[in-house]
Amino acid sequence: MAIGFELKGESMSEIPLVQLLTPEGERVSHPDYDTSLGRDDIFAMWRDMTIIRRLCNEATSLQRQGQLALWAPLQGQEAAQIGAGRALAPNDFTFPSYREHGIAWCRGIPPENWLRMFRGVHHGGWDPQKYRHSVPTIVIGNQALNAVGYAMGVQRDGAEEATMVFFGDGATSEGDVNEAFVWAGSFDAPVVFFVQNNQWAISEPTIRQTKIPLYRRAEGFGFPGIRVDGNDVLAVYEVTRRALAHAREGGGPTLIEAFTYRMGAHTTSDDPTRYRIDAEVEAWKHRDPVERVKAYLVRQHQVPAASFDDVTEEANTLAAKLRDDVLSMPNPEPLSIFEHAYADVHPLIEEGKRDMVELGIAGGGH
């Protein structure tokens, strides 16, 4: 590691961590991992990261202007999410928490759909089967068990598909995540647990959740765990790609700890200045996941400035479209609350609909 500063009592340089691209943008080798990604692939990942960072900034602005109820920014975690998201095969299935905008981007979900939940017009926002990306899970850790169950279904189908589930360092304290580890180990479920250790669960540092590095938890549950530089998109891609292949081939689960940092607030309702120091944030700025890729592309591949400018322009256009989409997003019809509460006819649903119409809360004709 290029930076050896102490982080909450844990010396970064002492923890084995897979890295292929240093914070300065230099390619380094790793005995177990290498990448065959070429200039175009890496540029495409830089583009992904640049766009989601820009869209995320737009969402924060929209929240500040009262257009979103809340936003959960991902700044700092772009490499963790794009690296993981681009490693997925089309048929793999993913279970997010609520900050996986980068994964949603990789799965092809239109950005305005990610914002429906935050605007308060929907609890989901997209068709999870169409995009192979489940709906958001806000109750911390629930989705880990859901993912393992899904993977057990894949196993029973004899399908060559992997399931990947995303959660944060805080979630690793939840019973559900630990039960998911037990199940996955016991049944050799084809699942990849991807924990983004962004160092903070709202105001509580990772050291409050664990006395040992998170990736080492896996050993106790009987499957491999690995820590990757979560700000290195190449390393995240390669580590994830291999874990997914391992799952598809019947090798069982893997726990990947993407060691990263939440540069912004937990959500737009949070004030991180109350619990963390500027020096820490400053130190992590030097490890920026997007800048290091650009430095590498310039130095190693002589990518011209115009290529980067084109993407910046593209990102601005997408952000403007996102703004327009949000501003024109209609409120749901009041009667829509009854639509999918149950799959089959239910008397209290029929009664509620009648009540809403009779009282004039909603128009009839539905």
Partner: protein
């Protein structure tokens, strides 16, 4: 027509559901080789294999949470929670995911899973083995809750629940597991969410469900000896409640007693009483009364009879609604 216990009827119903649909899976603690602590799944792992009858690790949230994922994948999991008092670790998954994912996914996900829950008292057990948690689930939108009380109902209701597309909490009154009864293997008695008039009468309507149905029928026998004609309705479905049958009965008798093991406060019995008071206001000759467990933790088993709705307490309530003078 075949004679069998409710436990056996459930076993046969599960077997038939598994034969009819290869997507039906069973999961739970000790349900494989042991056949479940009540033997409801006896022999099923032997016949359907370990991939379909899954002995799960000992963690209830894990059972339900993984069943959710299997349902997303297109399976029809039937979870067994070993006892009523052990369902609470799964409560989060049940109310946060099972009940809401169909809605959150705009109907894309079918949460067609069944959570079997042996419940209720009258079995002389230690703590956490005699509880009636059905009200928690009945309160939650997105869930349905049913409870069979006869072998015939058990045989059919478990199959109807498994083939239903909504998640169902299937409450099995364990004090009735070993009672034998006739099972019609060819024709279901009625729909899953329909109440049943278990005994016809003219003077008082007793609405009940699950383990209390037997007690209510005994009370009706005793009342008949005193010349009082008591109609007993087995709700069968706890959520939604089939008020049509109940309203017809109360309009006829003008008097209502609701009986349940669960304490009355903010309960299913409260909902039945409130709704029937609303719907049958002009037919009622007396305020509806409830006979339930007391508002205490479930007692040590040596005194559970004093805690539970008994024949005497039900008869007392019947006396009071008949004797009421406005």
């Amino acid at each position: 027509m075949a004679q069998m216990t409710m436990a056996k009827a459930l076993n046969e119903g599960l077997r038939r559901a598994m034969e009819n649909n290869p997507k039906v899976l069973l999961m739970g603690e000790d349900i494989g080789k042991l056949g479940g602590v009540f033997r409801v799944t006896d022999g099923l792992q032997k016949d359907f294999g370990e991939d379909r009858v899954i002995d799960s690790p000992l963690a209830e949230s894990g059972i339900v949470g993984t069943a959710v994922g299997m349902a997303i994948r297109g399976y029809r999991p039937v979870c067994e929670i070993q006892f009523d008092g052990f369902v609470y670790p799964a409560f989060d998954q049940i109310v946060s995911q099972v009940a809401k994912l169909h809605s959150r996914s705009d109907g894309v996900y079918t949460m067609g899973l069944v959570i079997r829950l042996p419940y209720g008292g009258q079995i002389g057990a230690i703590e956490h083995h005699s509880e009636s948690p059905e009200g928690y689930f009945a309160h939650t939108a997105g869930l349905r809750v049913v409870s069979p009380t006869t072998p015939n109902d058990a045989y059919w209701m478990i199959q109807q629940a498994i083939s239903h597309d909504d998640p169902i909490i299937f409450c099995e009154p364990k004090c009735r597991y070993w009672e034998k009864g006739d099972v019609d293997l060819d024709h279901p008695p009625r729909g899953l969410f329909e109440a049943n008039v278990a005994r016809e009468g003219r003077d008082v309507t007793v609405v009940t469900y699950g383990p209390s149905v037997r007690t209510a029928l005994r009370a009706a026998d005793a009342a008949a000896a005193e010349g009082r004609s008591v109609e007993v309705i087995d709700a069968r479905s706890i959520a939604p409640l089939d008020f049509g049958v109940m309203v017809t009965s109360v309009q006829k008798t003008g008097r209502l007693v609701v009986v349940a093991e669960a304490p009355a406060n903010a309960s299913v019995s409260a909902e039945i009483a409130a709704r029937l008071a609303e719907d049958c206001f002009y037919s009622l000759s007396a305020p509806p009364l409830r006979v339930t467990g007391y508002h205490t933790p479930y007692p040590p088993s040596r005194i559970e009879e004093e805690y539970l709705p008994s024949v005497d307490r039900i008869l007392d309530a019947i006396d009071r609604v008949i004797g009421f003078e406005s």
